[in-house]
Amino acid sequence: QQQVKQSPQSLIVQKGGISIINCAYENTAFDYFPWYQQFPGKGPALLIAIRPDVSEKKEGRFTISFNKSAKQFSLHIMDSQPGDSATYFCAARRGGGADGLTFGKGTHLIIQP
């Protein structure tokens, strides 16, 4: 049972463009939603995270948009750069945290120069 659905599976964006990755969740008990970036051979690195009491959070070129009623959240990467080419994972965690993070299947992002 996949509790966090991520799309698209792969994405190609031109340098300077906006990369958009979407996630949808089912469990309304989730109350923490992070995004991770992973390069080949490395562990995931936290990019940005949001809690459901806010609809948007921005850190540098990275923005999370959160729609609680639709149970959806998305990552926007502004002014995408070749160094942003990586696999991105959305995740969610239930309040109390005993279940650990539930991850989406990932989006392989390629930024073309």
């Binding site: 991520q6 109350d31 923490y32 992070p34 991770y36 051979g41 490395k42 562990g43 995931p44 690195a45 936290l46 995270a49 994972f89 995740a91 965690r93 239930r94 309040g95 109390g96 945290g97 005993a98 279940d99 650990g100 993070l101 539930t102 991850f103 989406g104 299947k105 990932g106």
Partner: protein, 113 residues
């Protein structure tokens, strides 16, 4: 400051063998979680430990076990290895138990032949 460290980096085992993976959390962090990441998928939660006690367990068989030591480092043990156990095993540390930010180590790449 050192991040999360894991050892070994790579490991090759044969079916039926036993393996022990090790993790040292970020200094001051008291919680360690273990995840399994199969190639092309998002990480899947195995265990969380906090203050040397198991606080959460994912949907993995009893062949998987873990423990946390007084210095907050942790071991993941897998018995009777199967080919399907081949994966990247990730350790994540967080300051406390609950929906805290989790910081991942580089992982141990396990290949079961």
């Amino acid at each position: 400051d050192a991040g999360v460290t894991q050892s070994p980096t790579h490991l090759i085992k044969t079916r039926g063998q036993h393996v022990t993976l090790r993790c040292s959390p970020i200094s001051g962090h008291k919680s360690v979680s273990w995840y399994q990441q199969v190639l092309g998928q998002g990480p899947q939660f195995i265990f969380q430990y906090y203050e040397k006690e198991e606080r959460g367990r994912g949907n993995f068989p009893d062949r998987f076990s873990a423990r946390q030591f007084p210095n907050y480092s942790s071991e993941l043990n897998v018995n009777a290895l199967l080919l399907g156990d081949s994966a990247l095993y990730l350790c994540a540390s967080s300051l406390n138990h609950g929906p805290e930010t989790q910081y991942f180590g580089p992982g141990t790449r396990l290949l079961v032949l």
